[in-house]
Symmetry: C2
């Protein structure tokens, strides 16, 4: 398999954590991809122009990140990271969607405050993204005590969120605002799949 | 069940089409929700502030739209709209992600060109969204001949895309650019679940 990926993408990080947790990382060839390069050829694999995009051994392209994660999870016989059915499935898929949605808001804020020309920034939009991310993080802070040692696709998405905050918003001081999440992340950061996938510029 | 929904949301439309196709629509109470209302209480069910969000009979909130669609599909014994396993599953989930990604680009373009103050619009961003949507639609145009009579979650997402183009971008004349999709949609538009869910302002 080939994976269109980027060392800065939190969505791609989810896929790599799944790959490491399931023992599949060695079967995946990373294809570093800069989606902001006007000449990027990622559009041949994903017309949306985004990473991650997986090219399966049969040549079929698979995206977006929730679909890739579940596809990889179908390729091994160990403990499933995406529960196959029942209440645990919807709890985990909802948590993954919450993590991905927080990331969407953080990325929208980053585009608005870092990439867009200064005179074209719209404070209303920045505040909307900040509010969505803050509500999402507050929800995670409420839920984290109930996770125990569970480390499935939902928690993997949360790791991607918290790592992205450290990477792109170091001034936010999220640990002071969300101390229970901070304590959880301090433990999880030791996990090999998490430590091996810290974003780098 | 309750569904936070909007008659203008293409993502909510996917959920309703699934509900009608699976015979579950009568079990769902619609809660009309305007996510742009500053006082919206949708954030109590979905901290991301988006629709659709489903509140299951047990009280648990479920989102985003791919998760809700698959949850509903787990509640009936008829033909599954999200294939449970195998190649068909990844083909359909990838097609759904492509449809949702085209919608994301179209919505981003709409926010930029209709909601954002005129002096704060960034042509680079508008062109980026237009290019992503156009590449995605060209991919659908290439694929549509292979679908035959298949009407599963991927095709449902495509219906949401094409209906959204009619609803929000009537000047785009997408039928002239994508004639195979137009012919497919003309047939599908007769389907009761599609006809019952046409967006209204």
């Amino acid at each position: 398999m080939k994976l269109r990926t980027s060392a800065t993408s939190p969505y791609a990080r989810k896929v790599w954590i799944v790959a490491f947790e399931t023992g599949l990382a060695d079967r995946i060839e990373a294809v570093p991809t800069n989606v902001w390069d006007p000449a990027t050829d990622v559009i041949h694999d994903n017309p949306l122009g985004k990473v991650p995009a997986l090219i399966a051994d049969g040549g079929e392209a698979i995206y977006d990140s929730p679909v890739i994660c579940e596809y990889l999870d179908s390729l091994h016989d160990g403990q499933k990271l995406v529960p196959p059915a029942g209440g645990a499935r919807w709890t985990q898929k909802r948590l993954e969607a919450l993590g991905d949605g927080i990331l969407d808001a953080l990325l929208a804020k980053r585009v608005e405050t870092m990439m867009r020309p200064e005179d074209k920034r719209w404070p209303v939009w920045i505040e909307r993204q900040e509010a969505a991310a803050a509500r999402g993080l507050a929800q995670l802070e409420d839920e984290v005590a109930g996770w125990g040692d569970t480390f499935l696709i939902g928690q993997i998405a949360v790791v991607a969120v918290l790592g992205y905050l450290d990477f792109r918003f170091p001034d936010l001081d999220w640990r002071a605002r969300y101390p229970a999440l901070a304590a959880w992340y301090a433990v999880l950061s030791q996990r090999p799949s998490v430590a091996a996938t810290v974003p780098v510029a």
